[in-house]
Symmetry: C2
Subunit: 231 residues, 2 copies
């Protein structure tokens, strides 16, 4: 049995099959780099914690399947979702010794865990891996900065429109998106309430910008119109 995060306090063991390993490049969505680093595949159920705020940051992760959210709570329970990570994306990179965010499965998912020390040791002599790690850090940075712009200056409709387009880019369809997460997660990502997200979806549907196909499926009927809302 292997504990995923440092202190094990509120952390479930995500391992289903400890013998299962993956050799995978560590960079980008769906891109397998030239260097193959061995990590351990772990499976998590919806809402299961991968690591907690303040835990010992001794692992770096890559999503193999499903979607992960990174997030933080304020004392009174308010929550901000920092980012959703889809297949191929790296998370858990830290400067200091402990995680500054928590991470959990947004839906049932599989992630590959790499030992941080191993990566650091390997990176010392491997330019390819260094490039992959710094790319992961810098693309996370750019996304966090874009996210700040949305949270600080965009209104509800603009944020939701952006979110839908973001989802579309992760989708394999050009019109349909499958939402991996419930309304509450979307709301906490966008700095809104569940009700406002729901109302905005309804408005968009009424204006024929989208079509709601069940609660977890959205068909974009006017992608250009959605983009125009926030660009």
């Amino acid at each position: 049995m292997l504990s995923i995060a440092g202190d094990g306090s509120a952390v479930n063991d995500g391992v289903r099959d400890p013998n299962e390993t993956r050799k995978l490049g560590i960079y980008g969505r769906g891109y397998d780099g030239i260097l193959q680093v061995t990590g351990r595949a772990l499976r998590f159920e919806r809402d299961q914690e991968i690591y907690g705020y303040g835990n010992d940051a001794d692992q770096v992760f890559k999503v193999e399947a499903g979607v992960v959210r990174t997030y933080r709570f304020l004392r009174d329970g308010r929550r901000q979702v920092d980012c959703f990570r889809a297949t191929g994306e790296v998370f858990g990179l830290e400067l200091g010794g402990s995680y500054t965010l928590s991470a959990a499965a947004a839906c049932d998912c599989t992630v590959i865990a790499y030992r941080r020390r191993s990566l650091e040791k390997l990176a010392a002599n491997n330019e390819q891996l260094r490039l992959q790690l710094s790319s992961a850090a810098l693309s996370s940075l750019a996304r966090a900065q874009e996210h700040s712009l949305s949270l600080g200056r965009r209104n509800a409709a603009e944020r939701v429109a952006m979110f839908l387009i973001e989802c579309l880019e992760y989708s394999n369809s050009t019109t349909d998106i499958q939402l991996a997460m419930p309304r509450r997660d979307i709301a906490d990502y966008l700095g809104l309430t569940m009700e406002t997200v729901s109302r905005t979806f309804s408005h968009f549907a009424h204006d024929s910008l989208i079509e709601l196909v069940g609660t977890r499926r959205v068909r974009l009927r006017d992608t250009a119109g959605l983009r125009a809302l926030y660009v």
Copy 2:
């Protein structure tokens, strides 16, 4: 004459003395790393642009004196300040070929410009420099994530209290802070309006949490009380 950013369109030349150079480690506030990299010192006046959104990202910068802001505009003029950078801090690190933010002097300041290609070449064989660069990227990331939490989930008083404590950490005093930037910049950093920032300052003063000494100087009278507002 040397152009600071790629296309030179809206970019002023910040060089006052092209012969002036600096040998400085590239990491952290006031910390000079072991590796000494040679950069060019440039001086900028308040509000002068250092680089613009979309410009060719061929340089990395470090603040030598004063304060720099990185920011972005929406089409209609709304602005979000991503971050203020004080002495010793690095900015302008990018994954892609162009800057995803703009940067300008928040007050008269001096920055050191390093050629990106030179840094990348040097970093290939220098672990010390690599550490400094990745530290800069990862600490920027942590700050951007913390910023998202504030913008998404904290109210005006909490944001302003946090900003004041942040400023205190950059100050050499334990009670007094000198604001390098006008209210508008603070507001755009905190995702608020100038008026709300001003009113919140006044409330804090009325509640004896702070004392306003002129418009650019604040004395913190109850640091613990301010911290309690947002932790």
